[in-house]
Every structure is written in structure tokens, then in C-alpha cells.
Amino acid sequence: MRDLLRDLMDAAATRAEYADVRFVRTQSERLSTRNRAVDQVDSKVTEGIGIRVRVGGAWGFAAVRGTGKADAERALERALAIAATQPRSRGAALTEEPPAVGSYASPAEQDPFAVPLEDKLAILAGAEAALRSEPEVALTLARFQAVRVDKLFASTEGALCGQVLTECGGGVAAVAVSGDESHIRSFPTSHGDHMEQGGFERFVALDLPGEAPRVSAEAVALLRAPECPSGRTTLILAGEQVGVQIHESVGHAVELDRVLGWEASYAGTSFVPADAIGSLRFGSEHVNVTADATHPGGLGSYRWDDEGVEGHTVPIVREGVLTGFLSSRETAAEIGLERSGGCMRAEGFGRQPIVRMTNVSLEPGDAGTLADLIADVDSGLLIDTNRSWSIDDRRLHFQFEGEAGWEIENGELGRLVRNPSYAGVTPRFWAACDAVCSESEWHLHALLDCGKGEPGQMMHVSHGAAPARFRDVEVGVA
């Protein structure tokens, strides 16, 4: 395969300003139980080659399944033909990058694909049984999934590198229904389960059977909980919701392709100007956000991105001020950055790389534990686990709703409340952040359904976050 990719790039070198090629083999396994019965036992294997060329400033990309030499050569011709038929473009040169060479495999203690299906289903069955103790629970779910991506990359600049990334995880959920009321509780996350880079040990560590009784009990309790009150109050977001808040209002807002308007046709643009580094106040001095493609276990971790840039750390916000963007070689060059942020990722072989999040995380603060944070609130609201999310196409005005909320009175948690929602405007909301919990409360939170691009690409990302507190926030808005 390495020889084929090298030959393709040799053939492209004289006919394109730049070209790269990726061979990608993706293996996935999804198991689930539903209402005490096995629901899904699915596996999928795909492989193919995607070739990207730049001619006259315009990109052409062609993808073909399999590994056949003749098919790959036809894909190269197709990519060149597509690029040639488009209007000429004034695209900037790519930032300089040393050719990526070598091999890498993400750590995995126990190969999740080698564990017998029966063993995985037994753990899910145990979780299901523990979810079913409440009579009003209408739906229970327990899930396992594993993904392994094996890819080779080569370019006309001499890059030739390979990496294997393995992810594993799962989750549980319970839906309680009574009349017109329906409430869901999920663990550990609501956006398609929790996964990390690693092996089967990541799934076992979730202890789904241990968490299941609390999950179903809270879903049922929400049926009788009072409605979340409306008004302005102090808001504490649990770590998972902080992760979603970072994702939607920071991560997407600092994707440089959006900032440059290149995603206006679908995902939208950004309120952040391209010349805002060092001047835009994004939040309070407690807000420090980092994009780190090297964090162990992160779903946005890799040795090289999908245009051969070595994964590295980019400070995005420091003490509330914008310090960087998520970028590619092309977008970085457009605004005069010396180096790409190494954020180009593609879903499988059949999509071309676009700017995506690595592990975009809110750095831990010094506010201690969640209990410490709550103890410092006279009156407020705690929201846990995202249920609904929506933000405008400039990533400015948002509205979120959690699965569960708790009133806070005189430094202690009070009543459980249902339908806890809040709304805000991105820089004002982050400016209202007055405390972030310490490192002991900081965890990676997975989000498996980040959609972007045309044709659409779904990406797995992680956000490191600890619970955080925001003052004077509008709640009870939906």
C-alpha cells in the first residue's frame, strides 16, 4: 500500500501544485440492549483511498473504495479533472510543513475487537437489569462501541506516514414517561455515549451496571419534579454540559475556515474576526481554553492530522483573551500564520479533510470540588447532562437544556427540577464565568456527533472540562 500511495503522488507531482492521498481502513463494532433484549450487534469494515489535488488554486478530491491500483489511478484522474473544471481560485499557498514520516499506534491495553461478543453483551445485560428497577421507565438502553481507524498518508512533498487509532466506550440511558411528560437520564454523556482512545479497559472503567440504578431513579424522579423556574440566577454547569458549551460556543467559533466564511453554506460563519488574536475578549480571566491533539485518551488526539501536520497544542484563550485558532495549512496561510494548527481531519476515506476540533478543553481552575463551588452560592441552579442544544450560525446566541437540574439554596443542593434550560450570548456568558473547579474534577467528555462539511462528516471529539460557575444567567427559557 505504501508503494501504491508513493506511486500515485509521483504521478500527481507534475500535474498539480500539491496533492495528497490517504488510505483509510475503518473497523467498528456497536452492541446495544434495549428494554432488556439484545437490540444491535453490528460490525462494519470499510476501506478505500481518497486523493486530493490542487490545480490553479482549486481543490479536487476523489474517493474510491478498495485498494486496487487501477481504481486508485482513475480516482487521481477524476480529482484532477474536477479541479480543472472549476473557476480559477486565488487561494493562498499552504504553510510550510516538514514531510511527515513514520508510524504510530494509540495505546490500547486490551483489544476491544478481540473480546468475545458474549462478554460485552453480558456487561450490557447487567446494566440493563439495574436500569429496570423503576416501573415508570418506558425505555432502557445500554451500549458498547469500538472503532479502529488504520490510515496511511502520503503527499507530493514527500510525506509518508501511518497511524492506527483505537477508541472504545459505551453508555446507559433510561426514559421515563407519564402522560405528556417524558424525561431521559444518560450516563456518562448524552451525545452518543462516552468513548476514549484506548482499549476495552475504557469500557469496563465506565462501570455501567454500577451507575444504572441512579440513572433510572433520576429519570423517574423528573416526572414529578417541579418545572425549572424562569429568571436570572447563578448557574453551575456540570462537566459534561461545560463540554457541550465549549464545543458549540468556543470550538466551532474558532475554526478558521468558519472565521474566513468558507463554511457559510452549511455550518455557518463566526462572530470572531480573523484579526482578533490578542485583542478579542472571549471571557473572564478564569477562562483558559486549549486545543491539544496530544492529550492521552482524547478522541481528538493523533500523531499527524489528515494533511500530515504533527499534532500539537494550540492555546485558544488565555485569561479570557483570544490567542489562537483551529487551522489548516491553507487557512493558516490565508491570515498569515506561520504554521497550521494541525486540525485537518476527515471521516473515513470518502471525505476530504476539513478543519475540525482536536481536544478543545477548558483548563481547570482553583475552585476546588463541585461541592466547594455549590457552597459558595446563595441562590442558583445546577444543570447536568445536555438534552437539547442550538446556537446561531455565527456561534453567538445559544439556548441549551439539560436533562436534570437542582436548585441551590444557601450553599446546598435543593430540589430536583425538570426541563432546566438557559440562554446567553457567547462572550457575555464566558465573561460571567467566575470560577472553574480544580483538576481533581476535570475529565474528558466525549461528543460523538459533531457534524460539519458538505458532504456531511461526523467526527468524534473530546472536551476536557470541570464544573464551572456563571453569574447572572437567564434560565428557564424554553
Binding site: 469494515v45 478530491f61 474536477i82 476530504q352 439556548q399 434550560s421 461526523m458
Partner: protein, 453 residues
């Protein structure tokens, strides 16, 4: 080999048991543009073979994109192993198994010229769009895309079915130096229907509407929605109310409401796979033939969409809405929604009775808040205007809608006579082009919870 040949080869690779093969072959071309320049161009040629095996009422599935004998045998082995593992965990399962598949009804869903996937056609469309935008000192953004898809289903019980379809979509967003934007799109079976010039002109006209942007405080207002905005709401109704799995599990918005008035009498919604302006589909991922399915008639809820699994839970048949063999995790969905038109001859006629209200071109980031209430939230985008004294008067700051879809449909006062096929055209995973055919409409007292800029 066409998709049916591959499906039959896949069945042959799984020599024992109750087996279904679903095969799709995608050939597509998608050109993106932004700031009056091409940005990405993606050509895909890929096959997906999904094998579903039932053992003792339990389902196992495996998929591959390779079609050689060895790959199909490996796929069949994994699917059977999955079903056997599921069967080993419990007593007999409830999957009814797969029946023999009959050949599909023919339709007009294929256009040979579109199937050529000619990149020069797209290049010319982009050039026309850029010229139109630049002449008006605007920046054009959007996509032009065409595809040919083959679909086939075969089962071990015998028979097979095959169809070949094409789809074409172009959307244009024009953005003025002020930041004001306008949107227009066209979708259909044939690329010849994508007229770049008129689309760019329509998008440009919205971006160039003069006057300072008005701002409305949160509250309830009468609204006139273009077909794309209506289509977004109906897609969310599919998720929350028309999903047979959610309905059978007691989570759906129409639980205990079938046969009841759930919308205004003017609302007639059906899944119509052979409707003239839809993207025709003859069968679903389980080979079940598609037929027109009335969902809401004269405002009365009549049915939800089922696949084999949800149908079995509801003790009824599949209605032909499986997205995957054995059923998708989130359940079946209607993919050919058609909302019947009304009596309004034009958008102007819909606006005429509105003293002060909101004109919406389309919504963005639509998401379900509480499914059982069909409560959703979304923001307006690319053409939001203030209606005063029966006329569109000036631009309006975008607004956040937070309201119940069935509630909005209950407050519909009139619909346009003409309908349009619209879609976001997201094309995640393997290409599955679909859209909603809907008219424009006017509804009273639609709830907006924020102005978003």
C-alpha cells in the same frame, strides 16, 4: 455488477439461515464554494453491503464496502456470529424474519444526463453564480451536487428488488458587505433543473433588501414561512411524532392521539414516495414496497411510519420506512413527506392579512427540546423580514423560535397553492438524498424566545 448482483452474491455468501442483503452504490459529485471562489470538490464512488441475519428471533448485522467473494463471506460470517451471540444471551427474540422480496414498482426517479456526473456542468454553475454575485457586490456561498445511487435488497427467502435514482441540489447564499444574507435553493431528480442564474438572483435580492434591521422583542407573532422553513419543521415532526419505534415504546407525540385532531383542518400530510416533485423511492432498506401513507388528514392524526421491528412491536406491518435492515437504532422515518398546498396564490397573498409579523426564509440549528410535546427550537437565517400592514417591509434581526410543531400546525391559517421540494442536503454517511415537499404557510401566534442578531 449492479447493486442487485452484489446483493444476490452476498446472500450466496451466507448459505444458511434467514438473511437479508441491502446494497447501495453511491456515485456522487459535490462542489462547494465560498466568497465567490471554489473551495472543495468531492467525488465519491463507494458501495455499502449490509447483511442482516436472524437466528432464533435475534438479529445480527455486518457491513462492508468490498464486493469480492472473500469480503462477502467474511461479512456474512460476522453477521451470523453476531446473531448467534445475541441468541445465546436470552430466550427467543421477537424479530419476525425476512420474507421473499418482490421486484419494485418503476418510477421516474432517474435522469441519465444527471448520472453522468459531469463536473463541467457544476463548474459552469459556479461561474454563473460568481458573476451574478460580483455584479451586485455580494459574496456567494453554497453547493452544487449531483449523484446516482443504486439500491437493491435480496433475501434468502427468495427474490430481489432494485432501483436506480439520481438527485441534484444547488443552494446559494449571498452575503452583502453589511452582513445581511439571502438564500435560495433548488432540488430534484435532474441537474437540468438547477438554474444557477435565477437562484443567485433570488438569494441576492434578499441580501439587498434595503432599510435598517428591525428588532422584535420575544413574544408570539403571526408568521409566514417559505417552504424550506416549513420543511424543517416537518422533518422534526418526523423525529418526534411520526417515528413508529418511539410510538410503539410510548415515547411518541402521537401516543393515544391517532384519530384525534392534532393540527388545523387545512393540514394534510402524507408520505408520498411517488409524488411528482419528490425524489421517488420504491422500497425501503428491508425491501418493503413503499406506498402512499396518509399521516395527518384534515388535521386528524392517522398513522406513524414503521419498519419491520417497530411494526412487530405495534403488532402491525411495516409501512416501508426502514432506514437499515432490521431497523435503525433511532427507528423508522418518513423520507417522502408531502404537505398538501392551500389556496394562496403567492407569498404576497399569505402576507396580506398580517398586521405585524415575521417572514422566515429558513431555519438553522433546529433541534428537539421535548419530543413528546414536539417542542423544538431553531433560529431564523438568511432572509428574515418584518411584515407590516400586509407587506414585507424591511429586514428583521434573526429570531429564535421555541414552539411546538403540532402547535404551529394547529395555528396554520393558510397555505400556498404551489409546493417545493427542499432539503438541507447534508448527505452524512452514505448518500441518502431526501427532502420535504411543502407549500409556504401562514400561522398565528408563533412563539419566539430571543432575537439572535
Amino acid at each position: 455488477m449492479n447493486a442487485l448482483d452484489v446483493a444476490e452474491a452476498a446472500i450466496a455468501a451466507a448459505p444458511t439461515g434467514d438473511v437479508l442483503a441491502h446494497v447501495t452504490h453511491e456515485r456522487s459529485l459535490l462542489l462547494r464554494f465560498a466568497n465567490n471562489r471554489p473551495t472543495q470538490a468531492t467525488a465519491i464512488d463507494d458501495v455499502t453491503v449490509e447483511l442482516a441475519v436472524v437466528v432464533d428471533g435475534h438479529l445480527g448485522r455486518a457491513a462492508t464496502n468490498q464486493t469480492d467473494r472473500e469480503a462477502l463471506s467474511s461479512c456474512a460470517s460476522r453477521a451470523r456470529g453476531a446473531a448467534e451471540a445475541a441468541a445465546a444471551t436470552a430466550a427467543s427474540g421477537e424479530h419476525p424474519g425476512f420474507q421473499a422480496v418482490e421486484p419494485a414498482r418503476t418510477h421516474q426517479g432517474h435522469d441519465a444526463e444527471t448520472a453522468a456526473l459531469e463536473p463541467a456542468l457544476g463548474g459552469a454553475a459556479l461561474a454563473t453564480t460568481f458573476e451574478t454575485a460580483e455584479r451586485r457586490q455580494l459574496e456567494a456561498h453554497g453547493v452544487w451536487t449531483v449523484a446516482e445511487d443504486e439500491h437493491a435488497v435480496a433475501t434468502s427467502a427468495g427474490g430481489g428488488t432494485f432501483e436506480s435514482t439520481t438527485d441534484a441540489l444547488m443552494k446559494v447564499i449571498c452575503i452583502a458587505p453589511s452582513g445581511r444574507s439571502g438564500y435560495a435553493s433548488s432540488m430534484g431528480v435532474a441537474a437540468s433543473g438547477l438554474e444557477a442564474g435565477p437562484l443567485a438572483e433570488r438569494a441576492a435580492a434578499k441580501a439587498l433588501v434595503s432599510g435598517d434591521s428591525a428588532e422584535l422583542p420575544p413574544g408570539a407573532y403571526p408568521v409566514v414561512m417559505e417552504p424550506r422553513a416549513v420543511g424543517s419543521l416537518l422533518e422534526l415532526l418526523g423525529d418526534t411524532a411520526l417515528n413508529g419505534l418511539a410510538h410503539a415504546e410510548g415515547r411518541g407525540a402521537l401516543v393515544d392521539r391517532l384519530g384525534q385532531q392534532v393540527a388545523a383542518p387545512a393540514i394534510n400530510l402524507a408520505d408520498s414516495p411517488y409524488f411528482a416533485s419528490t425524489l421517488p423511492r420504491a422500497f425501503d432498506a428491508e425491501g418493503t414496497p413503499k406506498r402512499p401513507l396518509p399521516l395527518i388528514q384534515d388535521g386528524v392524526a392517522r398513522a406513524v411510519a414503521h419498519d419491520l421491528r417497530s411494526g412487530a412491536l405495534a403488532e402491525g406491518p411495516s409501512t416501508g420506512h426502514a432506514l437499515e435492515p432490521g431497523g435503525a437504532a433511532d427507528g423508522p422515518l418518513p423520507a417522502n413527506l408531502v404537505l398538501a398546498g392551500g389556496g394562496a396564490a403567492s407569498l404576497d397573498e399569505l402576507c396580506a392579512p398580517v398586521e405585524r409579523g415575521v417572514y422566515v426564509t429558513r431555519f438553522w440549528y433546529e433541534n428537539v427540546v421535548r419530543p413528546k410535546e414536539t417542542l423544538i427550537t431553531a433560529v431564523t437565517r438568511d432572509g428574515t423580514f418584518l411584515i407590516e400592514n400586509g407587506r414585507v417591509m424591511r429586514p428583521l434581526r434573526n429570531l429564535r423560535l421555541t414552539d411546538s410543531v403540532l402547535g404551529i400546525l394547529s395555528r396554520v391559517e393558510d397555505l400556498s397553492a404551489s409546493q417545493q421540494l427542499t432539503s438541507h442536503g447534508e448527505f452524512y454517511d452514505r448518500r441518502f438524498a431526501y427532502g420535504v415537499v411543502s407549500p409556504a404557510l401562514r400561522a398565528g401566534s408563533v412563539r419566539f424566545t430571543d432575537a439572535t442578531g
